[in-house]
């Protein structure tokens, strides 16, 4: 009797385990219930960067009574890793809002679906800026729809520039002189983010592009000219040595509390500066030029998860979100620019106009570079770090970076 009871219990236990496993499988077609999942890294509903998206999705929810969208916020640092793990578990979201430069990686790994046929029927691909659209392309196939775009430009403190009798610089040579003039007791001329890793590579990339360098061939006269100047400005103190430990938020704080007269940053901080530092008098200018004045494109694409059970629903959500009429009111609140050229900006905001103009000259890694963008950018930041701290000459730093880049791209 005793043994039998134990046996029954054991079998019952096994059955329970099996039941749990079956539930985890989720074979049930989700389309029936009209439920969609959307993963993003903008923020939670209470944050200024997250709320606009939740509001926009709620509008969609209200417009489609038979559908509910479950929006999930995953912080940026964990986002790609979570997507990967979910892909391995075959539990990807229906829609994922992914980094534009990560799209190629996600596509080649089979994490997001080919949208070619749907896009063909939709026929709106020509409405998008070329650089934005290019980030969705891998081997002639389309793996996402650009959601928003963002560009980098120069923020400057009007008061400080006036006091020093300095005009917003239009060339990099002017930038160096201006930054030097603006550097005074306890204040630096220009704030940038130069932190370890990809984030700190944005300004070196902008500077090298301006010199006419190509980002996969940085060990060149152009690459050297670009990096040399940044390192020189850091050594001279016109850019704080602390920039090597700052992320973009830190650079913004330096500018916001008057510790830096200028900063190179994205449009993300426009509303934040206005709200948090209403007394600060500032404006934005186009990036200084050398041979070119290209900005770094910062953007996200909407993609459909490879294991989505409701791709039609997902596509409906994506195309609804991209309607010019919706973007028109969403983008200014979100501090982002349109990735398509048929969205009227009725905000009449001169600052937004500068960013929009800057966006016309946006750079994004090409198809060859995109899957390794994070790696290449890490190597570039290391070159800035080495040359700025004086642990290597610009020449040697770029040689080392080039070797690492070649190594990354070869695989």
């Amino acid at each position: 009797m005793g043994v039998r009871r134990r046996l029954v219990a054991a079998i019952g236990g096994l059955g329970l385990l099996a039941g749990v496993a079956a539930c985890g499988g989720g074979d049930e077609p989700e389309g029936a219930s009209g439920k969609l999942t959307l993963w993003q890294y903008y923020g939670d509903p209470s944050s200024p960067t997250g709320k606009p998206l939740y509001d926009l999705v709620k509008k969609y929810d209200d417009a489609r009574p038979d559908v509910t969208v479950d929006v999930r916020f995953i912080p940026y640092d964990d986002f790609n890793r979570t997507l990967l793990q979910s892909a391995a578990a075959k539990e990807l979201p229906d829609v994922a809002l992914i980094g534009a430069f990560d799209t190629a990686t996600m596509a080649s790994a089979g994490i997001v679906q080919d949208l070619g046929e749907r896009v063909g029927e939709w026929g709106q691909q020509d409405k998008y800026f070329k650089t934005s659209w290019a980030t969705t392309q891998v081997e002639g196939k389309t793996y996402g729809i650009p959601h928003v775009a963002d560009a980098y430009a120069v923020y400057y403190n009007k008061q400080l520039l006036q006091q020093a009798g300095v005009q917003p610089p239009t060339t990099w040579a002017e930038m160096e002189t201006a930054a030097k003039k603006l550097t005074a007791q306890g204040r630096t001329g220009l704030a940038i983010s130069g932190i370890e890793g990809p984030e700190g590579a944005t300004v070196p990339i902008i500077r090298m592009l301006a010199a006419g360098a190509s980002i996969d061939k940085v060990d060149s006269a152009e690459g050297r000219a670009g990096l040399d100047q940044l390192a020189r400005m850091i050594k001279a103190g016109s850019i704080s040595k602390g920039a090597l430990t700052w992320n973009e938020e830190d650079a913004k704080n330096q500018f916001a509390n008057g510790k830096a007269a200028m900063m190179i940053n994205s449009a993300t901080y426009v509303n934040i500066l206005r709200k948090e530092n209403p007394k600060l008098q500032w404006d934005v200018a186009l990036l200084p030029k050398d041979r070119t004045g290209q900005t770094f494109l910062s953007a996200e694409n909407l993609a459909i998860g490879a294991t989505s059970t409701n791709p039609d629903g997902a596509w409906d959500l994506i195309t609804w979100l991209q309607q010019p009429a919706e973007l028109q009111s969403y983008l200014p609140v979100r501090n982002k620019l349109a990735a398509r050229n048929d969205v009227p900006d009725s905000s009449n905001d001169p600052v937004r106009k500068v960013f929009a103009q800057q966006l016309e000259e946006a750079w994004a890694p090409d198809e060859k570079l995109a899957p390794k963008a994070s790696e290449v950018m890490t190597h570039l930041q290391a070159a800035l770090q080495a040359s700025a701290s004086g642990s290597a000459s610009t020449e040697d730093a770029l040689k080392a970076a080039q070797k690492a880049i070649d190594d990354s791209l070869a695989k």
Partner: protein, 303 residues
């Protein structure tokens, strides 16, 4: 002492013993499953992955080719790997040294009786209890070049985390700061185990404080000290959060310890296979050290 038990009784008692054991072992099942799934399986999976060709596509498909020792050959042939290994050793060595010295000093201090001792000791333990995210960020703020408290106090403008040498010192101090209270507790327990009569006898023989410390405290504290050093080494060697939060491995890779190096390989570069090699090394080094430790401990017991 020998007890003779009739053969028959021995048999029956053995069978009941076995049956009872079977039931008792059942209660172990949840714990074994838990440890198996959360510790052993990932550990084994990681080691297996270090012998496979695993990139982002293989993670998704779940199918990876075995490549033998290729990943190890790749990593062992890379100067970055050895640089990171060396940085790990410097960081760990520095942290263990500072932790031990500070922990011993604190333990000696708290070994004496004085009013408020318990309260003070409990407050010190806070450093150890504090989540690393909090302590690492506090250190980052304290050491900030422009608005950091340290610069304000010293009247300097040094970017502690922006230069390779000072960044290493900073992460070592921050780690030692949080580990020292833990070392103190262990060493304090060791100190309390030393009989007071030894010191009394030494005093009668005319030994001074330094002689007492060198001839009695240090030798008798050796087993506890070894344990402290080993535990501290293991937890420091695998530290990721303090370093990552304070410097992200920078500047210019100066504080890129092995766990940070592995993290970058895996989650920035999506090279899971070679990252697994790095994390396997993170496992191997402490295990080898522990073996030496237990061997020396056994020798001491035999002696």
């Amino acid at each position: 002492m020998a007890i003779t038990v009739p053969q028959e009784r021995l048999l029956t008692s053995r069978t009941t013993l076995r049956r009872n054991n079977a039931a008792e072992y059942l209660f172990l099942v949840p714990a074994v499953l838990f440890v198996g799934f959360t510790v052993l399986y990932p550990l084994a999976y990681n080691v297996v992955q270090s012998f496979q060709d695993v990139g982002i596509a293989q993670i998704v498909s779940g199918q990876a080719k075995y490549v033998g020792l290729d990943n190890y050959a790749d990593q062992f042939g890379r100067p970055e790997f050895w640089e990171s290994f060396g940085i790990s050793l410097v960081y760990t060595g520095g942290t263990v040294l500072v932790t031990f010295v500070a922990g011993l000093a604190l333990a000696l201090f708290f070994h004496r009786d004085f009013p408020g001792r318990n309260v003070l000791r409990a407050l010190l333990l806070l450093a150890w209890v504090l989540p690393t995210v909090v302590s690492a960020n506090v250190w980052r703020w304290l050491l900030d070049g422009t608005y950091g408290l340290l610069n304000t106090v010293l009247g300097t403008e040094i970017f502690w985390l922006g230069a390779p040498s000072t960044a290493m010192i900073a992460v070592v101090l921050a780690s030692a700061w949080s580990f020292a209270p833990f070392a103190m507790i262990l060493l304090l327990a060791g100190l309390q185990g030393i009989s007071g009569s030894l010191y009394e006898a030494a005093r009668i023989d005319g030994a001074g404080a330094w002689a007492q410390f060198r001839r009695i405290t240090l030798p008798l504290l050796k087993p506890v000290s070894l344990t402290t050093v080993l535990l501290c080494f293991i937890s420091t060697f695998k530290t990721f959060d303090t370093v990552f939060l304070m410097t992200q491995g920078g500047p210019g890779g100066a504080t890129e310890v092995l766990p940070v190096y592995a993290y970058k390989l895996a989650f920035s570069f999506y090279k899971f296979d070679v990252a697994a090699v790095a994390t396997t090394m993170l496992l191997v080094v402490p295990v080898v050290l522990s073996v030496f430790y237990f061997r020396s401990l056994r020798k001491e017991e035999l002696a």
